[in-house]
């Protein structure tokens, strides 16, 4: 139904919707994050869920203590190479549909520890990130903004067709390879399926 007809009908008091919209509306307003903090950003994440910022207004009422009850992983803080396999494993244990918010400069790029030998230069090397939040650490408002961005993203997901949501594609992977501790670094250092290094043009 085109938008003009819909708006004309609304003027007459007739509201129309689609199954897809109802489904996405329900999912977008009941995202349950995983209780999962790695560093300083986790304090901001905690603040976002407390009374002053109250993430519960968005349906993210309860931070689940188990990945099997959560559908959003907020990677809040520095992902060290020691922690990276655990992050990926927890992501793998979450049921579909699942989303990832990479919170803070460390989680998205390594942040101030980028040159360090022990810090992963972005969790998007191993798991697909839906929303990234810059900042060190980002304030709770930034997390809420990222949450709203994720909600908009969920509301626009398609149920059918070639552009349908990833979790509805039977061929799309639900688990990603967990890196192992190699002699000098994580093996593999990245998941080439989901992360390609940017080509530098000189």
């Amino acid at each position: 139904m085109d938008q003009g007809l819909r708006s004309e009908l609304q003027k007459q008091g007739v509201f129309t919707t689609t199954l897809e919209e109802v489904y996405n509306w329900g999912r977008a307003n009941s995202v349950w994050p995983l209780t999962f903090g790695l560093a300083c950003c986790a304090i901001e994440m905690i603040a976002a869920s407390m009374s002053r910022f109250d993430l519960a207004r968005f349906g993210a009422e309860v931070f689940r203590p188990s990945p099997r009850q959560a559908d959003l992983m907020i990677v809040a803080g520095t992902v060290t190479k020691k922690m990276a396999p655990l992050v990926v494993r927890l992501y793998n244990q979450m049921p579909e549909p699942k989303y990832v918010i990479a919170m803070g400069a460390c989680a998205i790029s390594g942040g101030p520890f980028k040159q360090g030998y022990n810090v992963l230069k972005g969790i998007d090397r191993y798991v697909p990130v839906d929303v990234v939040i810059p900042g060190c650490p980002p304030r709770p408002e930034a997390l809420i903004h990222a949450f709203m961005t994720l909600q908009e993203k969920i509301e626009q997901q398609k149920l059918t067709g070639p552009h349908r949501a990833r979790h509805l594609d039977p061929d799309a992977p639900s688990e990603f390879p967990v890196p192992v501790y190699g002699e000098h670094d994580l093996v593999p250092p990245k998941n080439p399926q989901i992360w390609q290094p940017p080509v530098v043009q000189r």
Binding site: P67, L86, R89, L90, Q93, E96, E175
Partner: protein, 125 residues
Amino acid sequence: MPTPQNSYLVLVVLMVAAVGFAAVPLTLAWLWAKFFSPKKPGHDKNATYECGLESKGDAWIQFRAEYYLYGIIFLVFDVETIFLLPFAVSFGGLSAGAFIAMMVFLLLLVEGLVWAWQKGVLTWK
């Protein structure tokens, strides 16, 4: 006001409505999951424990049979102590019949212990 022909009909209707109230959303959710959510099991998702560390083994704990045999034998002799205590306290005032009965009881107890010992019950393999 006309009385309904069968007053239990109201209850039946209410019961059907109550069951339907719970069953219909569950059925819809089940159908939705069946047709719209592909099952994607995997090694990590099927792991026993939900933890960042790799699961080792399963949640079943195997106790050896000897554990229970030791437990039962301890329990048996523990209970016998309760019988022996009044026997010891009232030893001076007992008749010969009571004494013989107690000796038979102790003999049976020792016989059981010897039997269990010979069967190898007390040997932890």
